[in-house]
Point group: C2
Chain length 372, copies 2
């Protein structure tokens, strides 16, 4: 047996050991620390991965409550030096949507964090009663084995998690990191905020923005039901934030339900309610970013132009009125600021990753200016 063959045999033997490696499992539900970042009202939930407190069940409409059970925007941070990380979890809803495959609606996204840099991790995925995401070949360098690295796991935007466990090699370190103390950005919005139709959880605009700014963010996007409702605003007022974002116009386009006057009142009251409780927290009011079928000179369903144009005009007016009334630290992210692409949407309404990046980039710009 020559030297080369000896080394081959050694590798072969070591790889068998690696494959047979025992895993140790950690369940965030049994954690003594606040392991979920991007979740408000921690400890007050019916379901561990809910986004509204249990008492909201009798306050908000059932449709809002149902969406609050989706784990959009929730992340788990941990540190490990294991070359393999496996996540196994069960979800409560259907795996796919007509416009979102399983990896988008019900999948995970893991990024390794090194300083302010995020590195996407490649999974092998298995979808079934239990969904498995397996990450292998993570940074097999000596320093990795010594110190380990921070990871950030993005949870599904369009499904609810019933249970979840993170596994690493038994002989490696694993340390959950608690939710950062820093005040979060809090976003109240629609399906677009919730994450439809990103290709994977890390590509919703709120996830992209979290990485761009490396800040905690709380996603209160409720598909079809982000409507600036006073009862939701009251709940949001309970929370401290670095910035509040109100991005609800796409769910308020019905002129029969929300005429100009009513819509203006909703916007103004939402801002004043937040301002009453939070005298100095910046508030961003966001325009509707449009529909692919409704851009100027559209040939297909040009009526869509009126839908977003009307609500954006009401926003202009409401914003000017709030400024005139002396409300400070309010900002307007306009349709032109977002500059959505005609081809940035999957179905004309919901952004693809292309449209999500467009939105995240616009938010990054205005937030960096605000926080300067």
């Amino acid at each position: 047996m020559n030297h080369r063959l000896n080394i081959f045999c050694l590798y072969f033997f070591l790889s068998i050991i690696a494959n047979a490696q025992e895993m140790k499992w950690w369940n965030p539900q049994n954690s003594t620390i606040n392991a979920i970042e991007g979740q408000a009202w921690q400890g007050e939930h019916e379901g561990f991965y809910d986004r509204l407190p249990t008492r909201a069940k009798s306050i908000v409409r059932p449709e809002v409550w149902a969406r609050s059970k989706f784990s959009s925007g929730l992340t788990i941070r941990f540190k490990t030096n294991s070359p393999t990380i496996q996540i196994r979890y069960k979800v409560g809803g259907r795996l796919t949507l007509p416009t979102m495959p399983a990896v988008g609606a019900s999948g995970l996204d893991l990024y390794a964090v090194n300083g302010d840099k995020f590195y996407w991790c490649r999974p092998a995925t298995t979808f079934g009663d239990t969904i498995i995401y397996k990450y292998t070949g993570l940074k097999p360098t000596p320093s990795y084995y010594e110190e380990g690295l921070e990871y950030k796991l993005f949870l599904p935007p369009y499904n609810s998690i019933l249970s979840l466990e993170i596994g690493v090699y038994e002989n490696r370190t694993f340390m959950p990191l608690s939710s950062r103390d820093e005040l979060p950005i809090i976003v109240y919005g629609t399906s677009i905020t919730q994450g439809g139709c990103a290709s994977r959880p890390g590509m919703t605009w709120t996830s992209i923005l979290q990485r761009k700014l490396n800040k905690p963010l709380i996603n209160l996007g409720f598909s079809g039901n982000g409507r600036l409702e006073p009862e939701v605003i009251q709940l949001i007022c309970e929370l401290d934030a670095a910035i509040f974002i109100l991005d609800c116009l796409p769910n308020l386009t019905s002129e029969t339900v929300y005429d100009d006057k009513k819509l203006e009142t909703l916007i103004i009251n939402a801002v004043k309610d937040i301002r009453d409780k939070h005298p100095q927290t910046p508030i961003i009011l966001t325009d509707h970013d449009g529909y692919s079928s409704g851009f100027k000179n559209a040939i297909s369903q040009p009526r869509y132009h009126r839908y977003y144009n009307r609500v954006n005009k009401v926003m202009d007016k409401a914003f000017a009125k709030l400024k005139r009334q002396g409300i400070k630290d309010i900002y307007h992210l306009s349709f032109d600021d977002i500059d959505q692409l005609q081809d940035g949407k999957v179905d004309g309404t919901h952004p693809s990753d292309l449209g999500m990046m467009q939105i995240a980039t616009a938010y990054e710009k205005i937030i960096r200016e605000i926080l300067k």
Copy 2:
């Protein structure tokens, strides 16, 4: 009954007529003109929507043949003044992929064309044994009713069409437009060229490029099987083109199957074979655009860096050698030119719409320079 009510009744009556409107149906298979644009070897196919001629069945590997039955890059151009367009079709394969929902893998995309401008059309979709895309509310203006408009329909990138019909209101005009005479751009590539994982057929990079340049394009992307094979190159050599694009490196990364020497020979032979038959047609040689998990300093599976880096180095060498040998009108679209984003991929390998736009924009730039 007052005047207002009279008008209401009239509208109601007219809307019933409109809904009950009879449709007339057109099947491209029964057309006397070459109705499919982006298809080479027209009239020589086993299946009407195939991309390789029947005789290729005994020439190329079965895997290539199977992918050639997917309608990627095929488009149908027509003119109509109907406010409703309906397309009903049947497909031969599964509707979805793990990373592509039905609207992406098996869906359609319709754009209205006005001069050099393309306007996306909003469909109502029904997926079943027969898939239905219904477009309503198309430009209901007087000039539309007089002159009609041109439309371009993009067919599914990851499914085969068994039959397809386009319907418009019976009392409206419908005129299929034949494939344009202009020489096409011909692309030989991998799954990324075939269209994985665009959110819809219009967002594959070849579809975006077609619209950017408003030129015919023939997509010979064969998922997992774009390997610069001499038998495919020989078939391609039969065709006249404005530009040939060879974008196969992502399917040639296996060092054991394609070592540096073998890969270099494949590249050089492909170019020389095309150059022999087409002395002056520009040829673009494209680098591998990378993997999300393999960008420099990657933490997850850094070995992916070597995969694309190696083949791109071989490409550099092959390109330099071809230039030294005096082969003219060859161009190199490099990794840096494409400048793919770490977050531009769905699964680390296949671009989302974000990554597709990145690729299309790089091609647009080099092609505009070549055609200047």
